[in-house]
Structure formats: structure tokens, C-alpha cells
């Protein structure tokens, strides 16, 4: 029988099945709900069959692992060759506090570092700025100076370990501090491996950690592409993120589409600068959420790889396969964690991590069960790390490449997400592109609408959140508090005072002047920022110069 004949026969069989077995079954036992939906409220059908996959060949849809369009994964051997990097996001209090946490995690088997910074640092303020009141070290580590960066990595060989730094608006400065620190230790820049998140577009859209207006920020980002390509070739100068877009309330489809649209915008800007796409595209990396709905998430990662490969090869004419393949980090969904019955979060995190692994992530952070109300304590973070180790070594899912490839449901879902993404790309085009759409509040509005709809579903009990609107117990969770110490705060202030007092004032002033001039002109800002950092300018001082020149972004109509 030919494929077409097979399908016709299947169609007939399904019809018969619907009219007999299914009909009888529904009569005896109706389904639990009228419609079943994913976490993103996408309708899910009762049964998926080869009929859902008709229309595209396996070659088109899947390809082979490690080859265009990379649906099945970006390496031929995936986790058989190398496990994903277990990279736990960590940071709180002072550099000393976080350095201790890094070592704890390394001791317990994490294979990559990931730095969480506190609010003032994320917004380009020093610990002693007035805007920093009450915010020292509460959600990440405070890094105001090169000294802080040195202490943060004390006793850690940055030539060997890869470090991801989750920082955006001031990313150039923080990166410069890392590079200057490595330099001081005699580690050549060419040896450094890591990532800076540096994804400003999603800040305007979702996380709101912006400082400067879009055009100035994009210039800073492309400066890092250019600098990195030449001087720090093993560094990922951007982590184009969907995680935060999803956390802010977007659906899986929106997370996928908005992230890739942002990605393509960065590519456009790089090309406009005059860079050859194959010179910087291989160092673009991604960061997706790993949310509750197992299959929707796996489909999302696969659709992402396929779309990116196609766009890079066909739209941007990249020649190198390394430019086509989408490398991603994933983090389990923070927003899904509950404060009620927190130990149950371990189960959520496990399923979400499983989705990321079955989806082919290159690197993974798993949330700790106490993160609905604090930065994780040691016990909680250890369990989170063990979760990854169980998946890697006991569950068997890492033993074969893309185990779910070919699943009718999964492939249909991947196709659906891909189609929806392209419709969204068209919409963004109609609005004039990513930055005009940001100014028009398009992303922000879509995200707020999805967030509201999701919350209403919970309120109306259409959607069950275990422990919150069902299976509720009246229990006070007992969790060991992790607190930021007064002593750390005072030590940090002291250190800042010392930095300002003991540095070469002239060298410092000259470096900031040169940075100011460079910002006003067309120079690549990275070397100038590096000089400022070497002259012991603080994060706040450096960002203030840039604030002076570039101005500060005013959020558009966001309701």
C-alpha cells in the first residue's frame, strides 16, 4: 500500500472507531471536561494520528539530529556525547556570600556557573545609591566594582569553568569586570567561556530592567557582538530570552514567537553594523522557560530550532551550519511555584526539567522548592540540583537522541506552534518591526492579556493549581529562612568607599571622559568600558555616564 492508501485506510478505521468503541465509551463514561487545554489554553484533541502529520515529509519536518533543520537536536549524539550543563542560577547578599554558594554548588556536581545579581546591580546602581535603598543582596549578589567581581570568583578557575551572567542593561560593564578580573589572573580572553544575557529587547517587553532607550541599548549589544567575535571568541555575547516573557504571562506560542522575533532583530542590527552574519551568529544563544505542560514545552523547543534554522539559512543567508543551530539554556518556571505546600514544587520542577531535557536543552537550571518566597537555602538548592542528576543518570531519558520524535501529538503540536509563530511574525511586521511594536505597547499588551486570562481561569477554577485552589491544606510551611546579613551590607559599603578613595583619581576621570566621548560618537564602547573598569570606575559611575549620553527610557502606554 502506498502512503496515501495507508492514510485513507487509517481514516476509515478512525471513523469506525469513533462510531463504535469511542461512542460506547463516552456513553458509559463522559470525558472529565468539555475541552482540554494546555497550560497556554491551547485546545488539545483526544487523539493524534499519522493523519495529523500528512503534508510534510520526515526529512522536512525532522531531519537528522545535528543537521538542518535541527528539530531533533543540535548534535548527532546529544546527551550520549555530553550531558546538558547543570547550571544553577545563584546569588544573594555580598560577593563573599555568593562565592560560598558557588563552591557549594560545584561541590555538589553543578557543571556551570550562573550569576544572579541584586536589583541595584541589574539597574546599574551601586549599593550606596539612593535608588538601592532596601534592595541590597535580596534577590541576587551586589556587584558594584571590579573588587566585588574578584571576590565573587575567588578560588574558582575562570579559565576552566563557564559562567553565565544574568544581567541586561549594564551587561557590557559587568562583562568588562569579568574580563578585567580574568586578565588580572593571567587568563587569556580567548580561553574564557560563558554568557551574558544582554537581551535588552525582552526588558522593554517583559522584565522591565531597562535603563537607556532602545537604539542606544541595541548599539551597546552590537558592540559586544563585535568585540566578542574578535577578542572573546568562546563567549556567548547574548542569551535571547523567552523565559521572562513567559513569566510575565505570555503563552508558549507567544514566548516562542516573541523570542525568535527579538533574535532576528539582533541579527538584523548586527548585519547593519557591517558584521558578517557567520562571524557573530554562532555566538547567539537562547534561553527558554520550561513550564508545566510537558508536551507543549517539548514542542516549543523543537519548533524554535526549526524556525531559527530556516530563518538563519534562508532569510539571513548564513552559510555556516553553526549559525543555523539554536543553542539554548532552560529554566523551570518560577511563576509556577507555590508558597503553599512548597515541597510539592519539587514535583513541578521535575516535570518541567524533564520537558527541557526531552526538548534537547544545552543547559538547565532547576528551581528550588522554596523559591516562591525566597532565594533558595542550601538544602532546597541541593534537591534542585539532584533533580537534574536523577534525570541524567537514573531516568534513562538521556540514553537516546530525541526519544519522543515521531510522536503524533508532539509533531502536530510542534507544527502548530511553528505556524502560530509565523502569524505573529507577520503581525509584528505590520506594526513596523520589533522596536516600533515595543513603542506601540504590542508585546506588553499581549502579555498582560494572557496573564489576566490565566489568572481568571484559576479564579474560576477552570484551571487547577494544586495546593492553591484545590487540595488545599491549612498548614504553615516550615522553611529555613535565608537572610541577607547586615554585616555583608556594611562590608559592601566599606569596600565601595575604599575603592573610591584608593583609586587613581586622574586615571579614573580620564577613562570616564573617554567613555563619554566614545558613547557620543560611533566607537565600540567595550574597550572604553574595559578601561573604565580597569581604572576602578564603579558600575553606577559607568552607567551614569551612559545615562547622561543616551538618556533614560520612558515606558510607553502599557496598560
Amino acid at each position: 500500500m502506498t502512503d496515501a492508501e495507508d492514510l485513507k485506510a487509517l481514516e476509515a478505521r478512525l471513523k469506525r472507531w469513533e462510531e463504535t468503541s469511542l461512542k460506547d465509551s463516552l456513553k458509559a463514561l463522559p470525558e472529565r471536561r468539555a475541552t482540554f487545554v494546555t497550560t497556554s489554553s491551547r485546545p488539545v484533541r483526544r487523539l493524534y494520528t499519522p493523519l495529523d502529520l500528512a503534508g510534510k515529509s520526515a526529512a522536512e519536518r525532522l531531519g537528522e539530529p545535528g543537521e538542518y533543520p535541527f528539530t531533533r537536536g543540535i548534535h548527532p549524539t546529544m546527551y550520549r556525547g555530553r550531558l546538558w550543563t547543570m547550571r544553577m542560577f545563584a546569588g544573594y547578599g555580598s560577593a563573599e556570600d555568593t562565592n560560598r554558594r558557588f563552591k557549594y554548588l560545584i561541590d555538589h556536581g553543578e557543571t556551570g556557573l550562573s550569576v544572579a545579581f541584586d536589583m541595584p546591580t541589574l539597574y546599574g546602581y551601586d549599593t550606596d545609591a539612593k535608588e538601592a535603598k532596601g534592595e541590597f543582596g535580596t534577590c541576587g549578589v551586589a556587584v558594584s566594582s571590579l573588587e566585588d567581581m574578584e571576590i565573587l570568583f575567588r578560588g574558582i578557575d575562570v579559565g576552566e569553568v563557564s559562567t553565565s551572567m544574568t544581567i541586561n542593561s549594564p551587561a557590557s560593564v559587568t562583562w568588562a569586570m569579568y574580563l578585567a578580573m580574568a586578565e588580572k589572573r593571567g587568563v587569556p580572553l580567548t580561553k574564557l567561556r560563558g554568557t551574558i544575557q544582554n537581551d535588552i529587547l525582552k526588558e522593554y517587553e517583559a522584565q522591565k530592567e531597562w535603563i537607556f532607550p532602545p537604539e542606544a541599548s541595541m548599539r551597546l549589544v552590537v558592540d559586544t557582538f563585535e568585540f566578542g567575535a574578535k577578542q572573546v571568541p568562546q563567549w556567548n555575547t547574548i542569551s535571547i530570552s523567552g523565559y521572562h516573557i513567559r513569566e510575565a504571562g505570555a503563552t508558549a506560542a507567544q514566548e516562542l514567537a516573541f523570542t525568535l522575533a527579538n533574535g532576528m532583530e539582533y541579527v538584523r542590527w548586527g548585519i547593519d553594523r557591517g558584521l558578517r552574519v557567520d562571524d557573530f551568529a554562532p555566538r547567539l544563544s537562547f534561553f527558554f522557560n520550561a513550564h508545566n505542560d510537558l508536551f507543549e514545552e517539548i514542542a516549543k523547543y523543537r519548533a524554535a530550532r526549526r524556525i531559527w534554522a530556516r530563518e538563519m539559512r534562508d532569510t539571513f543567508a548564513a552559510k555556516s551550519p553553526r549559525s543555523w543551530l539554536l543553542r539554548t539554556h532552560a529554566q523551570t518556571a518560577g511563576v509556577s511555584l507555590t508558597a503553599q505546600q512548597p515541597e510539592v514544587n519539587i514535583v513541578r520542577t521535575t516535570i518541567q526539567a524533564l520537558a527541557a531535557v526531552l526538548g534537547g536543552t544545552q543547559s538547565l537550571h532547576t528551581n528550588s522548592y522554596d523559591e516562591a518566597y525566597q532565594v533558595p537555602n542550601e538544602k532546597a538548592v541541593r534537591v534542585a540540583l539532584r533533580t537534574q542528576q536523577i534525570l541524567a543518570h537514573e531516568s534513562g531519558v538521556a540514553n537516546t537522541v530525541d526519544p519522543l520524535g515521531g510522536s503524533y501529538y508532539l509533531e502536530a503540536l510542534t507544527d502548530e506552534l511553528e505556524e502560530e509563530a509565523y502569524r505573529t511574525f507577520d503581525r509584528i511586521q505590520e506594526l513596523g518591526g520589533v522596536i516600533p511594536a515595543i513603542r506601540k505597547g504590542y508585546f506588553q499588551q499581549e502579555i498582560a492579556n494572557s496573564a489576566y486570562r490565566y489568572q481568571r481561569e484559576i479564579e474560576d477554577k477552570e484551571r487547577t493549581i494544586v495546593g492553591v485552589n484545590d487540595f488545599v491544606v491549612d498548614e504553615q510551611p516550615e522553611v529555613e529562612r535565608l537572610k541577607v546579613s547586615e554585616a555583608s551590607y556594611r562590608a559592601q559599603l566599606e569596600r565601595l568607599k575604599r575603592t573610591r578613595k584608593t583609586r587613581d583619581a586622574q586615571k579614573h576621570a580620564r577613562a570616564l571622559d573617554r567613555l563619554r566621548n566614545g558613547c557620543e560618537g560611533d566607537d565600540n564602547t567595550m574597550p572604553l568600558i574595559l578601561d573604565a573598569v580597569r581604572a576602578r570606575a564603579t558600575l553606577g559611575e559607568t552607567c551614569d555616564v551612559m545615562r547622561e549620553v543616551f538618556g533614560v527610557w520612558e515606558e510607553p502606554l502599557l496598560y
Binding site: 536589583m119 546602581y125 535608588e131 538601592a132 503553599q340 498582560a448 489576566y452 479564579e459
Partner: protein, 134 residues
Amino acid sequence: MPKKIRVLIAKPGLDGHDRGAKVIARALRDAGMEVIYTGLRQTPEDIVEAAIQEDVDAIGLSCLSGAHMVLFPDVVKLLKKRRAGDILVAGGGIIPEDDVPKLKKAGIKAVFGPGTPLSDVVAFFQKAGKAKGA
């Protein structure tokens, strides 16, 4: 006609996670209230000044970065100083259970942690409005 309840929803400090604040604002609107949403990066001074000019019945503060122990009480203190202590203050966000008694002692009338049903939040503000005669 029943008086309209006016509420200020504010995000003190640097924290930019506004998903919750915006959802709450919409829910309060759907419950018939007039909601002034201040936007991000508000200082306690900004918040209190807005509350006074808008003559709100209550303020809802949202903070997810852990700075609530400093910023929330600052708002209450400033309201008292400006002789507007009759404006009720509630807080929400990432707030550990054992911080709640301290916040309440500092004058925060209610704390709505993660997982709080919207209906609870709406009920609080409805009560707050009725206390002022709405």
C-alpha cells in the same frame, strides 16, 4: 449611587515584575473600582504623594525583590507624617510568611502572598472602601 472606591496600586523600588500588579489592577476595575496604577520604580515619596492627590481609600504595594521589609513600612511612615494615616496599605509579592507579622506591626493592614485568590484581594479593598464610607 454607591461611592466609587479609589485604589492606588504601586510598585515601590526597582523591581520591575509587574504581572501581578497589573492583574490586580484589572481585577479591581472589574469589581467596579477606580484604580490608579503608578507604574514602576516608585519611591515611597512618589507613592504617598500620588495617594494624597488622588485621595485614594487604600494603597496596594507590590514587591518581588525582597525589599518589602524596608519599602513597605516606609510608605506607612510617610503617610502618617503627611497626616494621611487613614489610607489603608496592603502589600503583596514575594513575601515569606514569617515577615508578615513584622509588616503588620509596621502598619501594613494585609499581606497577600503568592497564591492569594483575586477574590480575597478584591474583598479587602471593598472593605477598605466601605470603611471610608463608600
